[in-house]
Amino acid sequence: MTRHFDAELKDLKSGLVAMAGQVEEMIDLAMAAMVRRSDALAEHVMELDRRVDEMEIALDRACIDLLGLRAPFATDLRLLASSLKIVPQLERIGDHCKNIGRRALILNRQTQVLNPDYFQRMGGAVRGMVRDAVDAFLNGDAALARSVIAADDTVDELHLKIFGELLRLMIQDPLCIERASHLIIVNKNFERIADHATNIAEEVLFILEGVNVKHPYLRQEHLD
């Protein structure tokens, strides 16, 4: 039986995917602004954040309306409850991109301190995680969601590697401390985007399987 509610949920998912598309574009722009040292790209990514914020408000409203008006159960309930949690994850990714853009504007006026390849790699990795998390949501792909969660460790390692390199540079040349400090924050921004992608993937698994996979160490403690 086709339900009117199914069309509404489809619209909601479309809205969420559109918001995700916007933040994926912001990640590309933020990464390019850093690598190419482009003020124009940095300013553009900062402008796009407003659109993401507007989408957050609209999607929040849609989720609350559907929860209130349709009183959903089971998968419908899980989809709506998790959408309410995925939307702020996307919004935070937008914020991180905006912040990277802001740092890029400062760094673009100073001598380059770190090989841009580092952020090309970091940006590419987190971009892939966000894309996969959104694809897993859209296509109901639990295996893909699990691969996103697994990929977070790789990004964490890369984050530590870049951090170590920046520390090394600062020790070597104290005059670069200000520039390197900005880069430490940019590095953290990228790492946090990966965390948000992981959170989205966890919500996708909750939607698909009704299983809360957060904080696996708690499950291990319980089993012990």
Binding site: M1, R3, F5, A71, P72, F73, A74, T75, D76, L77, R78, E91, R92, D95, H96, K98, N99, I185, N189, R192, E209, G210, V211, N212, K214, H215, L218, R219, H222
Partner: protein, 295 residues
């Protein structure tokens, strides 16, 4: 929100909600909900009613197939499913009301406190005193409010006015009706509103101190306010009684019950703790029914 300010770490979750049964996949069984929606004492309570491999036929037509179901003491069990799935038939098996229908044949056991209701030695009248019933449509007798509530005790032979007075007041209080009718107990029950009449019927069932109260769509003819009062009443009643309720209203089943059993084509498809049944049922057909995709 600016991003260099870390958001506060979420508060630890509160009380545990004990999980029962074997989960379909490994999952976190601690801290499932901070609400403790289903009381742990109810989850661990012994069964007061046990249905064992119950089959029922209306003439040649089999209507129930091998039903196995426990009803735990001081819990509310909701029976849900589409029309004709057998849930009301099962409810009527629990107090042997199907005995009144020609051509009904029953095989299997229904144990109340370990005693088989279908044992030929069981006195059906005394059985029904242990199993109060509330129907879809309120059915007060054309008598006074007082006599409606006292009726069950009177036919049991109770004549002591003081005993009857106490039972009437206690039952009307139990049904949340006392304050509304205490000054007009001698007036006709037929003058009460639909919601009041239904609560009067609940009071009538309570008067004989049953162990189990069976409710067959008790709110389907009531407005939302009267429905809300009955649902609140169910929360109160389960402290003292065990309740089995048939309802077509999914929200009502989710709101009032501790356990839910889903029936389809005379079979018990799935029974589980209500909070799990309405968030993550095990069977696809249950999911389709409670989300309205059925059919």
């Amino acid at each position: 929100m600016e991003i260099d300010d870390p958001r506060p770490v979420a508060e630890p979750l509160g009380r545990l909600s004990a999980a029962v049964g074997t989960p379909p996949t490994p999952q976190l069984r601690l801290r499932e909900s901070p609400l403790a929606i289903t009381d742990a004492a109810v989850l661990g309570a012994p069964p007061v009613l046990e249905v064992r491999n119950l089959d029922l036929w209306y003439g040649p037509q089999q209507a129930l197939f091998g039903i196995d179901l426990d009803v735990r003491r001081n819990s509310v069990l909701a029976l849900i499913g589409p029309s004709g799935c057998g849930k009301s038939t099962l409810l009527r098996c629990l107090n042997r009301m199907n005995d009144l229908i020609d051509g009904v044949r029953i095989r299997g056991q229904v144990l109340l406190g370990g005693e088989d209701l279908y044992d030929p030695a069981v006195d059906v009248i005394s059985l029904r005193k242990r199993m109060g019933m509330v129907f879809q449509k309120s059915n007060p007798f054309p008598k006074t409010i007082y006599e409606n509530v006292a009726y069950g005790l009177r036919i049991q032979g109770e004549r002591d006015r003081r005993v009857l007075d106490e039972a009437v007041e206690r039952s009307l209080q139990g049904a949340g009706l006392w304050e509304e009718v205490r000054d007009r107990l001698d007036q006709s029950a037929l003058g009460l509103s639909g919601g009041q009449q239904q609560r009067l019927c609940i009071a009538r069932a309570l008067a004989v101190r049953p162990e189990v109260i069976l409710m067959d769509e008790p709110c389907s003819a009531l407005d939302p306010i009267a429905t809300g009062r009955i649902e609140e009443l169910i929360f109160e009643l389960k402290k003292e009684f065990t309740i089995v309720i048939v309802t077509h209203n999914m929200q009502q089943a989710a709101r009032v019950s501790d356990f839910t059993a889903f029936f389809w084509l005379g079979k018990l498809v799935e029974t589980d703790v209500t909070e799990r049944m309405f968030t993550n049922p095990r069977q696809r057909i249950t999911e389709d029914y409670i989300t309205g995709r059925f059919g």
